[in-house]
Each structure stands twice: as C-alpha cells, then as structure tokens.
C-alpha cells in the first residue's frame, strides 16, 4: 500500500523499529531501520498514540471526535493526514513510504568535518 491509498478502514500501527520519546507534549520518533528522526507536535502525537493496529482510521477518528467534541469529518481528515504523513516517512506497518531502510551492515557516514580530511 502507498500512503495515498490509506483510507478509513486501514488499521494503522507504528513499525516495531520505531522508538518514541515524549518531551513536553511533543513526540520525537527514531526509526532504527531507516535511521531517521521525526517530530510530531502534540496533536499529531496524540493521534499517533492511537495507532496500535487494533482500531481503524474511522474508529480512531470517532473516538477522538467524541472525546473532544469535534466534527467527525474534520477529525477524520486530520487522522488520515497524520497516517499518510507517517506512512510517507515509512513509519507504518504495511505502508510503502519514501524512506528506504538502511543496510544494517553499512556504518552511517560520519559528519563531513570528520569524514573529509582537512584540505587547507
């Protein structure tokens, strides 16, 4: 599945390789497989915390809309947006994102100042 195909019946869940840290209401995600870092603001983090593979996008939107007294269509659009964004970042199970997994045998390159010998 590609991110654009995520719809109301999809059951989103973060990949097992994704670690999360909550700091001051925001969440920072680190994906060990792609070695990428992502920041979710408070709203996106709250939505993403419901991505446990149990509920569908529509289920999650319904619960959030009820809890916060918001129109279902608005919340559904927000949940779809978060799911597609995380999907594009290759953070969701079953979604082919744009960030390719790193080769576990490849050492990541050091920063340029350390990688390149001095030229002056």
């Amino acid at each position: 599945m590609i991110p654009a195909d995520i719809a109301g019946e999809f059951r989103p869940s973060l990949r097992a390789s994704v670690a999360a840290e909550e700091v001051d209401g925001d969440v920072v995600l680190y994906d060990e497989s792609t070695r990428s870092v992502h920041v979710l603001n408070g709203t996106a983090a709250a939505i993403a915390s419901c991505f446990d593979g149990a509920g569908t996008i529509r289920d999650i939107a319904g619960e959030v809309a009820e809890a916060f007294g918001q129109p279902l269509d608005d919340v559904l659009a927000a949940v779809l947006d978060v799911a597609r964004t995380l999907g594009s970042a290759s953070l969701l199970d079953g979604v082919e994102g744009e960030v390719a997994p790193a080769d576990p045998d490849d050492e990541p390159p050091p920063p340029a100042w350390l990688a390149d010998p001095p030229s002056r």
């Binding site: 670690a19 840290e21 700091v23 001051d24 925001d26 969440v27 920072v28 680190y30 060990e32 070695r35 870092v37 920041v39 790193a102 050492e107 990541p108 050091p110 920063p111 340029a112 100042w113 350390l114 010998p117 001095p118 002056r120």
Partner: protein, 281 residues
C-alpha cells in the same frame, strides 16, 4: 643517517586518554611537543603500552605526519601535516565511542558541576562560545565530543583542547599558540588551562543546552528551543546513535529534559557569553 639524527631530536608527550583512545604525540619540534602536551595535560593519563603514536617529522624541507601505522602525505606546509594528524585523532576518538555512551558533537563548560552543553554542526561558533565562556570563568569541559550517559542523560567533560578558527583567533588573541605561523595557520589548538575558569574533567550535571549559530555582526539573540527540537538537534549531532538505536534516543531525551534549551544567534562573543550566563543564572 638523517633518520637517526631526527630520532635523536624526537620528543614525545606522555600518553593521554580521550574517551577510550590512548595516544601520544611526537615530533622533532620541541616547542610544538611541549605546547600540545600542555593542551592535552588536562586529559586522563593513557596507557603508554596501548597508546597509538601520532607525530610529525621533518623530512628534508617537508613534513610527514603519521597516525599509528598510517602515514599522511608529505607536505611543505607544517600546518597541513598537523591538521591531518589532528583530524586523524578525532576520527579515532569518535570510533571508540562504542555503546557505552551517546557521543555528541559539542562541548561543555560548567559552573561547579552545573553544566552548559553546546552543540551544533561545524562552523557555527561552538568552539568560540565555549572558549569565551571559559575565559569568563566557567570551567572548560571540552570541545568536539560530549559523552552523554545512557542512564539519566548526565554528561562527562572530556577536556579536549579547543580549536579556534577565523574570527575567533582575533577575539581570543591572547591564546595564540607558539609557532602559530608554522603549525597553526588555519586553526589554533589552545591550552584550556590558560582560561580563567580552569578545566573540569569528569561528571557534569547538564542544566543548559545551547545551539549556537554564528551570524556576522548580529547582536546576540537567545530564544527558547522546544525540547523536541533540541532533542532532534542532539540526535543529528550524535556520532553513534545508529549503533545505540532507541537506547541513544532515550539518553538524548533524558539530556534535554534536564536542560533549559536555547538557540543563540550572534556575531558578538561577549554578548553571547552574557546571554548564556544569564540563562545559567
């Protein structure tokens, strides 16, 4: 014969330890050896038997650096030879980070054990700010490498000497190393023991995390960073996050949770130091 004569004149520093890398330095330039020995004298002693030998030797009119068994290119410019050597040393230190600490590109200064961690990518004014703060009385705890504990986010000062480039050399002219015209034309390696705050070596309690950005002639402007943004920056400046995985993420998160996190945009060193000292309180 010339090699034998050179060997007679070769001086070597004691062994020092930076993170888990033990090293010595040798050269037939006695003044250079004494200067670098002073710069590194604040590091723990290394094991001479395990130390990697670094050095620069004159070969006729040229200079040949080496780092362990690796020989650098011969050059007529001694500063090129030394720059290659110091770059090789940095590489070796970063490679020894292993999985015992999260190693972050940055530096530390401290008031007692209350630490200020400065982290940024290269050429953002990090070394200048650290040295300026140490000149203003904070203890110097290292530049280039910050070791963050995996449990709790505490940091260990690793007082690698500061390396000053560009404008920093004019602002901190009193720190000019000996024979700077030969060995240190692009970058000064300076003795942190000459700074007013002295040197700290060991555990520090991080309280402030500063992300500097040098902007020529700009007044010092300091503004809060969200901890999420600070965490992202720390992760991107780490050398061994990918080996540590989520353990490294947790360590970096613990570090930023302990700190007031700020971004500093400035082209004014004294005003920058004032601003950071005010945040530290």
């Amino acid at each position: 014969v010339s090699a034998a004569v050179s060997a007679l004149h070769t001086r070597r520093t004691p062994a020092f330890r930076l993170l888990a890398h033990d090293f010595t330095f040798e050269s037939d330039d006695t003044v250079l050896v004494e200067h670098l020995a002073a710069c590194w004298s604040h590091l723990p002693a290394g094991d001479p038997a395990k130390a990697t030998a670094y050095g620069v030797h004159a070969e006729g009119t040229k200079y040949r650096p080496f780092a362990g068994s690796v020989r650098g290119a011969r050059t007529e410019r001694p500063n090129h030879a030394l720059a290659w050597l110091l770059w090789s040393l940095n590489q070796a230190v970063a490679a020894t980070a292993g999985d015992g600490v999260l190693l972050v590109h940055g530096g530390v200064v401290a008031a007692g054990v209350r630490g200020v961690v400065v982290t940024a990518s290269a050429e953002k004014g990090k070394s200048t700010l650290l040295t300026g703060l140490a000149r203003r009385g904070l203890a110097y705890g290292g530049d280039e490498f910050v070791a963050v504990a995996l449990d709790g986010g505490g940091v260990t000062a690793l007082p690698r000497p500061p390396a000053l480039e560009g404008m920093a050399r004019e602002l901190l002219a009193e720190l000019e190393p000996p024979n700077a015209d030969a060995w240190f034309t692009t970058q000064w390696t300076v003795d942190p023991g000459l700074l007013a705050g002295g040197v700290i070596n060991g555990p520090v309690e991080p309280e402030v995390l500063v992300v500097p950005r040098y902007w020529p002639d700009a007044p010092a402007v300091i503004k809060p960073l969200t901890r999420a943004d600070a965490l992202t920056i720390v992760l991107r400046q780490s050398f061994n996050l990918h080996g540590l995985g989520r353990i490294g993420l947790h360590a970096a998160a613990d570090l930023v949770r302990r700190c007031r996190c700020v971004e500093l945009v400035s082209g004014d060193l004294e005003a920058s130091c004032d601003a950071v000292l005010e945040v530290l309180g």
